[in-house]
């Protein structure tokens, strides 16, 4: 029934005959975002696809459809089971979220259900404390956690998202145990908990934490990435602070298509979309909005997915 309706909708859009790579795309493309309108992923997806209709890009506009719910599971379930693999239905992935969810189970997708196209952004997790917190470095926070096992409350956007993974890695690297508090309202609610002093610390997106720091509400103690970030040149990485935390928790955002999409469509998409993401116009709008950009092509994304699958499997094995 659902396929029938979806099919009818597509027919309305004017789909006729099999797709030829040279004429693809001949109508507007739909891109599914599995988070709500106005969130960071939705906001960035709209910026990076704004030039899609240009002649030197795809030549067809990309329309964003939001299917939020259950931390992204609703949208990705829909994409894996019901989206047509014809190149006219794209989706945004948030790694490591969907990979971690697939490992934990209860969803109808894993990394093999999708084909990566290109990556546009990388938002590392950062460790934040309130502006008036006694902690001024990761060493302070870890010392407290060692003296009071399980008592250092740390907020994050949910379970099995980048923030949670960063918290698990910090626990593992420092040999302590923090009390990770997942919030129902996503990153914004987790940040509010830090600013209001409901929790002692938080793990949040670099882009949101950067804004909160600019507003004078939080201190950022460390970045969970391999290198320091251009927005925050004075903030050390976790490794510099003596914690062996790699880039596994970095929130990568990019575009993918369902498995079974014709190879020539994938080739065309991965070539043009990667160029589109790297354009000057996109970079300018993204950096104005405080959204960190990181363009990767199809092969690089595929490698990143495989690496995450490996590390997350080990990390989540005991949970």
């Amino acid at each position: 029934m659902k396929r029938l309706i979806a099919g009818a909708a597509l027919a309305l859009l004017g789909l006729t005959g099999p797709i030829q790579a040279d004429e693809y795309p001949d109508r507007p493309i739909m891109m599914m975002v599995s988070y709500g309108a106005g969130g960071a992923t939705d906001f960035q997806a709209r910026i990076v696809t704004m030039t899609a209709a240009n002649e030197d890009a795809l030549g067809a506009p990309i329309a964003i459809i939001n299917k939020p719910g259950a931390g992204g599971r609703v949208g990705w379930n829909w994409f894996a089971t019901q989206a047509d693999p014809d190149g006219y239905t794209l989706a945004v992935y948030n790694a490591p979220h969907f990979i971690a969810q697939a490992i934990k189970g209860g969803v109808s997708y894993d990394t093999d259900s999708f084909e990566p196209i290109a990556n546009w952004g990388a938002d590392p997790a950062v460790f934040v404390v309130g502006a008036d917190s006694p902690f001024n470095s990761m060493a302070d926070a870890m010392a407290y956690a060692k003296e009071n096992p399980g008592k250092l409350t740390v907020s994050g956007a949910g379970l099995f998202v980048g923030h949670h993974i960063a918290a698990l890695q910090i626990d593992k690297a420092s040999g302590t145990k923090m009390a990770y508090i997942p919030t129902a309202g996503g990153g914004a609610a987790a940040m509010k908990a830090v600013i209001a002093g409901e929790v002692m610390a938080g793990i949040n997106n670099l882009s949101d934490a950067y804004r909160a720091q600019q507003a004078g509400n939080v201190k950022i103690l460390a970045v969970a990435d391999l290198e320091r970030h251009a927005f925050l040149p004075d903030v050390p990485t976790m490794r510099e602070e003596g914690l062996d935390v790699d880039a596994s928790s970095v929130n990568f955002r990019g575009v993918m298509v369902p498995k079974g999409t014709p190879p020539e469509v994938i080739d065309k998409l991965s070539e043009t979309v990667t160029q589109m993401f790297a354009s000057e116009e996109v970079a300018q709008k993204m950096s104005a909005g405080g959204a960190p950009i990181h363009v990767m092509n199809r092969e690089e994304v595929a490698r990143m997915w495989a690496e995450r699958q490996q590390t997350l499997k080990e990390l989540l094995a005991g949970l």
């Binding site: 029934m1 659902k2 309706i5 709500g36 309108a37 106005g38 969130g39 939705d42 906001f43 709209r46 910026i47 704004m50 459809i65 939001n66 299917k67 939020p68 719910g69 259950a70 931390g71 599971r73 609703v74 379930n77 829909w78 089971t81 934990k104 209860g106 399980g150 008592k151 250092l152 409350t153 949910g158 379970l159 099995f160 009390a179 508090i181 997942p182 919030t183 129902a184 309202g185 914004a188 609610a189 940040m191 509010k192 908990a193 600013i195 209001a196 409901e198 929790v199 804004r211 909160a212 600019q214 507003a215 004078g216 509400n217 709008k285 104005a288 909005g289 405080g290 959204a291």
Partner: protein, 503 residues
């Protein structure tokens, strides 16, 4: 007083055109079932790409204010609340429209929206620093008690009996558990893939309110088609203004509750209207008239949901935290122009900040003027024959439920809930307590779980949830509310038994 300095910017030709366009467009979008204020603002964001920051925000600010008020149109005339904010408006507003007083209901709703809205924005202008600390004061334990306070209202809200009200509230609470739970990610009652994301509140609203009404209209058949054409009474705007001045109590309770509750991140906007409605009913001398088309109900609900607009932006503008989904969309609109809300906004871009706030102030008044203009025309909807009306409402319901997330799953959910509600209504249950349960369930649950986790790591559950000034205050209000309901129920029973005895 800085904001007066920037008033001129609102009245430059392009800005004012955008303000007008945003207001009229917002009214139309708001009146369309399924298009919540959040979605309306999100739809407009791409248009602001081409505009300057100030102009873009004028458009968004005007659209936000007028979509909230526009939701009253479909709530009153079609009994389809466009967003949770309009549920309480439906209760008395639609009853008034059925009596042919649609024009009066709409006029009152736009006038009280404007009064509440202007006061809300003035609060935003003058008391922002104070309000910001208030918004931060609510932690998980307080939000939990606030949700419980909402639950205590369930029994008395729009129901023949307290027991039936509580029962339908429980059904709502159960429906709220469906889907992946927000905090732990556990799967509950997912019998069908479209339930994975839980029950979407807007789809549920449409189903619970509009569908039973459609079924009733169909069930009546064609026989009494002509007999039931409602005579739509004309109603002058001045009469509505005069009436508003005699309903100061409803207006002030609505405005105060809307402004105070609207401020609380993540909770306020959804329940402000219902709580205001319930409180006005408790303080009113004509309690028994509520639910039968009493103007106080409409005034309180609409004053509350527009009074919430200004304060709901406080956490965004001062702390850079979006407190509601609509605020999150507005944040996107600011970021696209490279403007970070927070102290940076007022220090470095005062023109943007104040013009945006001013545009909401003027937008409230424009919204009221246009609203009053169309009220008389729109009310004629009631003259449409029932069989045609049923078809229109059904089509709008399906369209509305589908457009929330572009998903047929939501349409199925809407249809199922609607058919279920049709039968429940026959047994004297009503939709409002059910919806309140559906809204409050997740708030109470996630804050209890989250607060419990914090408490386990720190001071322990008992002292986390039961000590502290704000907790104590909320708990005592909860107890007072329960005691009040119990007392009213007992008194009511004594009276009825007496009457029966006399008879």
């Amino acid at each position: 007083m800085e904001f007066i300095y920037y008033f001129g910017d609102v009245f430059t030709p392009l800005s004012f055109m955008l303000l007008l366009g945003g207001t009229i467009g917002g009214l139309i979008l708001g009146a369309t079932p399924g298009l919540s204020p959040t979605m309306a603002v999100a739809l407009l964001i791409p248009f602001t790409f081409q505009l300057e920051a100030v102009q873009g925000l004028i458009l968004l600010g005007a659209a936000y204010t007028s979509t909230v008020a526009g939701g009253a149109v479909s709530a009153i005339l079609l009994k389809i609340p466009g967003a949770p904010a309009n549920i309480a408006t439906t209760l008395d507003g639609h009853a008034m429209a059925k009596k042919g007083q649609g024009a009066r209901a709409l006029q009152l709703s736009f006038l009280s929206s404007a009064v509440g809205g202007v006061l809300g924005v003035l609060l935003l202008i003058f008391l922002t620093p104070l309000l910001a600390t208030w918004a931060l004061a609510f932690g998980p334990s307080h939000l939990f008690w606030l949700a419980i306070l909402g639950v205590t209202v369930i029994g008395t809200l729009d129901s023949a009996s307290v027991v039936k009200g509580l029962l339908s509230g429980c059904i709502g609470l159960w429906l709220a558990t469906i889907g992946f739970d927000d905090v732990m990610g556990a799967q509950r009652f997912i019998f069908h893939p479209s339930l994975g994301g839980g029950i979407n509140i807007i789809a549920a609203l449409i189903g619970l309110f509009a569908i039973p009404q459609v079924l009733t209209m169909f069930a009546k058949g064609r026989h009494d088609n002509g007999a039931e054409v409602i005579e739509v009474q004309r109603h002058s705007v001045f009469a509505a203004m005069r009436e508003l001045t005699t309903r100061v109590r409803a207006l002030s309770i609505g405005t105060t509750i809307g402004a105070v509750i609207g401020l609380i991140p993540g909770v306020g906007g959804q329940i402000a209207g219902l709580v205001a409605y319930d409180q006005t009913k408790k303080f009113s001398s004509e309690k028994e008239k509520f639910g039968t088309g009493h103007s106080e109900g409409v005034i309180a609900a609409e004053a509350a949901n527009n009074a919430m607009v200004g304060p709901s932006l406080v956490p965004l503008l001062t702390l850079s935290i979006p407190g509601s989904p609509t605020a999150a969309v507005l944040l996107g609109g600011l970021l696209i122009h490279g403007i970070f809300p927070g102290s940076d906004l007022f220090d470095n871009h005062p023109d943007v900040a104040w013009t945006f706030i001013n545009s909401m102030l003027i937008g409230q008044i424009l919204m009221c003027v246009f609203g009053l203009y169309v009220a008389g025309l729109a009310a004629r909807v009631a003259q449409v024959p029932q069989s045609v009306m049923a078809a229109i409402v059904l089509a709008l319901s399906v369209f509305g439920a589908y457009s929330v997330q572009g998903s047929m799953g939501d349409v199925y959910i809407m249809a199922c809930l609607g058919i279920g509600m049709y039968f429940l209504e026959r047994f004297g249950f009503s939709a409002a307590p059910l919806v309140l349960g559906l809204i409050l369930g997740p708030i109470a649950e996630s804050n209890f779980v989250q607060g419990g986790m914090i408490a386990d790591a720190t001071v322990g559950r008992a002292s986390y949830f039961l000590t502290g000034g704000l907790n104590m205050l909320l708990i005592s209000v909860v107890l007072a509310s329960i005691a009040y309901s119990a007392w009213m129920e007992l008194r009511h029973r004594r009276y009825t038994t007496k009457e029966e005895a006399y008879a």
